[in-house]
């Protein structure tokens, strides 16, 4: 039971890192990245091949690059960095002149290319067999599974805290406000002299770095990784969890992933297998689909709505600047571009 709870918490913390990164991209900047899981996978692969030594199976059965035997903190950072660089390449391809929904499709295509190459080009990451026996971090090789889970949990929570701190700083900074302005209406944001492309590029990269870190923590914990782990559906489910939990609010995003990825898959374990073997998983996916549509339909801001709505109420209308004399309807009422004009005006250039 203790192990079960610890396992749940550890996977929850790792999923929360993913949620924070994806939420930066979707919730803050409105970039629909349907291949987010690819960056998690890249982080996992890089962390694995930089900590692994020579393949244990000889005769070319097991092949992968690097084999650096790095200490794990270095591998963790490297995983984040490589995922970030890949994110930069991807975002530079898609962001420039594509409308947001077409951008989403193209991210899926790019994810497919990466998946296809990793699966078929065996010398890179051992193809479809994937990597296994990734070294445990800390003193993981010598302790019991429960103790190891606890150790990974502590490290994951530290990484999560760092990511949350970055996300919160971005959320509160002028940069975060520019991102939200772009999300609501990029033409308005551009007309205030904000660089819509540049702003979104960097938030995308930061989100991908977090994905890489989460992937590295995941592979340190489960110690194996293969292409079956990052099919397009994984990204879709993660996206669904964010939307249900509340995009724009990182607590909502964390809650969403925890409930809809963790708890649902854990509950699955206790359900009897009825019908054909895949019935339970299918039922879960149908439930996620229905919830997703219901939330979008009846509670469009997610279970925990974006925080600045409350912020306004407690701190009153716009603090200072040219828009502070604007009539109150600018700061009350539903979320929309007109509110952000006031917002952007009050803050001026960042």
């Amino acid at each position: 039971m203790l192990f079960f709870v610890l396992d749940l918490l550890t996977l929850g913390a790792i999923n929360a890192i993913m949620a924070v990164g994806l939420n930066l991209q979707y919730g803050q900047a409105g970039i629909l990245n349907f291949t987010y899981y690819t960056f998690i996978a890249i982080g996992a692969y890089i962390a694995a091949v930089t900590t692994l030594g020579k393949p244990t199976l000889t005769g070319g059965v097991e092949q992968y690059v690097l084999q650096w035997r790095l200490p794990w903190p270095l591998a963790l950072l490297l995983a984040g960095a490589v995922a970030g660089v890949l994110g930069l390449v991807v975002v530079l391809i898609v962001i420039r002149r594509l409308r947001s929904d077409y951008l989403a499709i193209v991210t899926v295509s790019i994810g497919f290319i990466i998946w296809n190459v990793i699966t078929n080009y065996i010398p890179l990451f051992n193809g479809s067999n994937g990597l296994f026996a990734v070294p445990y971090i800390l003193n993981g090789a010598t302790v019991t599974p429960i103790e190891y889970t606890l150790e990974v949990l502590v490290v994951s929570v530290v990484v999560l805290a760092a990511c949350l701190w970055v996300a919160r700083s971005i959320f509160r900074s002028p940069y975060g406000r520019v991102l939200r302005a772009i999300r609501e209406d990029d033409v308005v944001a551009a007309s205030f002299g904000k660089s819509t492309t540049g702003s979104r590029v960097w938030v995308f990269v930061i989100g991908c770095i977090m994905a890489g870190l989460a992937g590295a923590m995941l592979v340190f914990y489960i110690s194996a990784w293969n292409p079956a782990g990052f099919l397009p559906q994984e990204s879709f489910i993660l996206m669904a969890a964010i939307v249900i939990g509340g995009p724009g609010n990182y607590w909502g995003a964390v809650l969403g992933t925890f409930i809809f990825i963790e708890l649902l898959s854990e509950i699955e374990r206790f359900l009897p297998n009825v019908g054909n073997g895949a019935a339970v998983g299918a039922g879960r996916a149908i439930l996620i689909g229905i919830l997703l549509i219901a939330v979008v339909r009846f509670r469009p801001d997610g279970l925990i709505p974006e925080r600045w709505l409350r912020w306004y109420k407690t701190k009153g209308p716009l603090p200072s600047g040219p828009a502070s004399g604007d009539p109150p309807h600018l700061v009350t009422g539903r979320r929309g571009p007109h509110r952000l004009w006031g917002w952007a005006l009050s803050r001026g250039k960042s």
Binding site: R99, D101, S109, A240, A285
Partner: protein, 291 residues
Amino acid sequence: MNLLAEAVGFGLVTAAVIALAAVGLSLQVSVTNFVNFAYGDFMTFGAYITYSANVAGLNFFPAVLVGAAGTGLLGVVSNWVIFRPLVKRKSRTLVLLICTVGLSFIVQNAMVLIWGTNSDRYTVSIGNALHIGPFLFTPGDLILIAVAFGLLALLHIFLQYTRFGTALRATSNNSDLAQACGIDTGRVITWTWAISGLFCAVAGVGLALETNTLRPALGFNELFVIFGAIILGGIGRVYGAMLGALIIGILTEVSGMFADPAYKGAIAFAVVVLVLLIRPQGLLPSRGRSA
């Protein structure tokens, strides 16, 4: 040379399937202005309905009609239940897109529940390969290509020469203006979902025949190839989608000759991405809207 011709022939068959699917999706996108991620699952749904109708004793071609009707109905119902209320509320495109992902979860996994994950097969097969000139086709391939040509020609006539086709084009061009001119855009959208479902079901049956498997994930895996075709042709451009499908279909098969066939999907996508870098609006750009 002979091999190249054969590859082009296979490409034509692939293109026929992709073209049917891409035109259906493109039609829907041009009118509703959002991309449907559940479209691949609609294809599978059409293929499964056809399968069940066939198993229940109907001949194959009437069964395809039943599948097409069923898929059209699925499209119309999805529109009524999910998308119309959201469009009325002026939800953002991204929100609608996410809803289609939810719909994809529901449809795909409902099929898992109903038909199971095992691979099924139609009782009819595409027959044995025949040499026709330099090409290598089976009778089924030829029928499929003929059906694709026939349906696309019908759609062309429908769009260009009927009142309803004109209304559809007007709605796709500017829905507010069309409404102001007295066109019942709600009805146009409903029928567009139905027509799109019809094309999609026929494409699904074709895909299941060509790959000789029928699994719940069949259409979902093909979805991104179809997206490639419609992106290549310029999103929402029906004729562009045909062109895009032809290019993707032939490219996929021909690239299999020069590189490891395992990469052929990736090569097709890489070309799409390259085209986007040079021409973000696609080969045949849409006029005015969307850029």
